[in-house]
Amino acid sequence: MNEKNNAPKLLHIENVYKQYGEKMILDNIDLIVNEGEFCTVVGPSGCGKSTLLRLILGQEPPTEGRLLLDGKPVGYPNTDRGIVYQRYSLFPHLTVLENVMLGPSLKLGLMERRRRKTELRDEAMHYLQHVNLHLHGNKYPHELSGGMQQRVAIAQALIMKPRILLMDEPFGALDPQTREDMQIFLLELWEQEKMTIFFVTHDLEEALYLGTRIFALSQYYSDDRGHDHKKRGAKIVSDHKLPSAVASNEIKHTPEFLALLETIRKDAFEKDHLQHVREFNLKHPDSYQTLTEEESNHRG
């Protein structure tokens, strides 16, 4: 399915379903994400983007299917995966510096933590410098603006050097100017740290600007299960490779690029534009799709 690409697969999602009660949310999701990719995920509100993130994080198990990280089942949340939420990422009772130091110091025993206190501080300060907040280390989260809080949350997650950094609308609550600053800032960090990022947003432009790969999750599609099939959930209906924004900013204003934006908008967000499962725009080299016989009666 993916022989032409030899880069190591970091995340492998196979036939994943997620159901809440009778309601199917994620419907047979297949996905491979390679190391170093900046993946952005878009889709209509309520389609299951955060749910997919929770499954990767291990906060909830899938109803069916497998999620593998470095070839191993993802299991409960652990240090392999970092997370930045739109809110609630910081611990309100700890200062900025303590928030960033928390991860590394949890790894150590009590004695070790005492002994290496300055070392821990220096490391945390280094990361705070990275996010340009080294002068605010002694403040509490409630004393910071929304954008500053999100930068601390990013530093807090980065210091753990997770295999994959998951972000759920991290800039969703910020004003447009701060948001733009944060986007540039995140791209720079991604460049420097060679991270793998999985970035959920409902803003298509943001997704196109940031990602090296964009895919859309949507429940607006058709298949051979019949028009009135009750338990239809969201699938990946569109998957594209993007030129890196860091490499060139201009590309993102070309006609092809605007055409891509329009395609994804239609594929994912338009209620009446129902593509058949066999005709999805799965253009990214890593994308693959295994359909059940029920979904696709067509053989060949």
């Binding site: 240090t79 609630y88 611990f91 509490y140």
Partner: protein, 276 residues
């Protein structure tokens, strides 16, 4: 906006002096009404005991707070206060610790919740005073019974309050802590516990009123010193001149503890106060 209303209406902004004056009005009113009533009774009978006037009460208060008791050689107000506060402190502290541990562990660990939730609800439904006789029979009439009554009376309330506070902590925070490498115990005692300590202080503040109630009730029934014991003892002689200053003293103590806890909250948990 030059003529901001001082008192009337939705936009009232009482100035600093008026604030003091307004706050004092209910107290002054109560005192005046009492003094007038006492005066009327004293006109009829200068020896009236039911509504003692100010000088009678200060005399009695002075006697209780400064003179040694002839029989025990103790200064009664202080020995009573010490005895009562000791019971109150031990009972409340025990209830706070147990309530905190119960609420925390039940809120975080589903196994604990399943095991303890119905038991806790059951215990909290027992009217504490109704088991006072049982306590006297089982643990005797000395200190332990009083402390136990306070403990049983308030720990379920604190535990349930803490439980609710733990449940309010967003699930995201716990997941976040796990991604930072915290173990389950570290989540409980390093991440969640420090966050609900301020809530514990508030819980204790609210529970203090009930704690006093149980203390006075237990002392009234079986004790040989304590504020509640004294009030119920002198009641036999209709000694209102002692009872009223004692009640006043208890009120001041309660007010003092409440203010202390509030200050502690403000000083030590600024992040909590600021979040509202």
């Amino acid at each position: 906006m030059s003529d901001k209303p001082q008192f009337f209406g939705l936009h009232a902004q009482p100035g600093p002096y008026l604030t003091w004056a307004l706050a004092a009005i209910p107290f002054i009113l109560a005192i005046v009404i009492y003094m007038v009533a006492a005066d009327i009774r004293h006109k009829e009978n200068p020896q009236d005991k039911l509504l003692p006037n100010l000088s009678q009460m200060t005399d009695a208060a002075k006697r209780m707070a400064m003179d040694e008791d002839r029989r025990s050689g103790k200064i009664l107000l202080w020995s009573d206060t010490a005895a009562s506060l000791k019971r109150l402190a031990v009972g409340v502290a025990l209830a706070a610790v147990v309530g905190l541990l119960l609420g925390l562990n039940m809120g975080l660990f589903p196994g604990m919740h399943v095991m303890l939730a119905s038991g806790l609800t059951f215990i909290s439904m027992i009217p504490p005073l109704s088991i006072l006789p049982i306590l006297f029979i089982m643990v005797g009439v000395d200190e332990l019974a009083k402390v136990t009554l306070i403990f049983i009376g308030i720990f379920p309330v604190i535990a349930r309050d803490i439980l609710m506070a733990v449940n309010k902590i967003p699930r995201e925070q716990i997941t976040k802590a796990l991604t930072l490498g915290a173990t389950h115990l570290e989540v409980a005692y390093k991440i969640v516990l420090p966050q609900i300590l301020p809530r514990l202080l508030e819980s204790v503040r609210l529970a203090l009123g009930a704690a006093w109630l149980f203390l006075i009730a237990a002392e009234a029934i079986a004790a040989n010193e304590g504020l509640g014991y004294r009030i119920f003892l002198v009641r036999r002689y209709l000694a209102m001149d002692v009872i009223i200053p004692y009640v006043f003293w208890i009120t001041i103590l309660g007010f003092l503890f409440d203010s202390m806890l509030r200050l502690l909250l403000k000083k030590k948990f600024a992040w909590y106060v600021a979040r509202g």
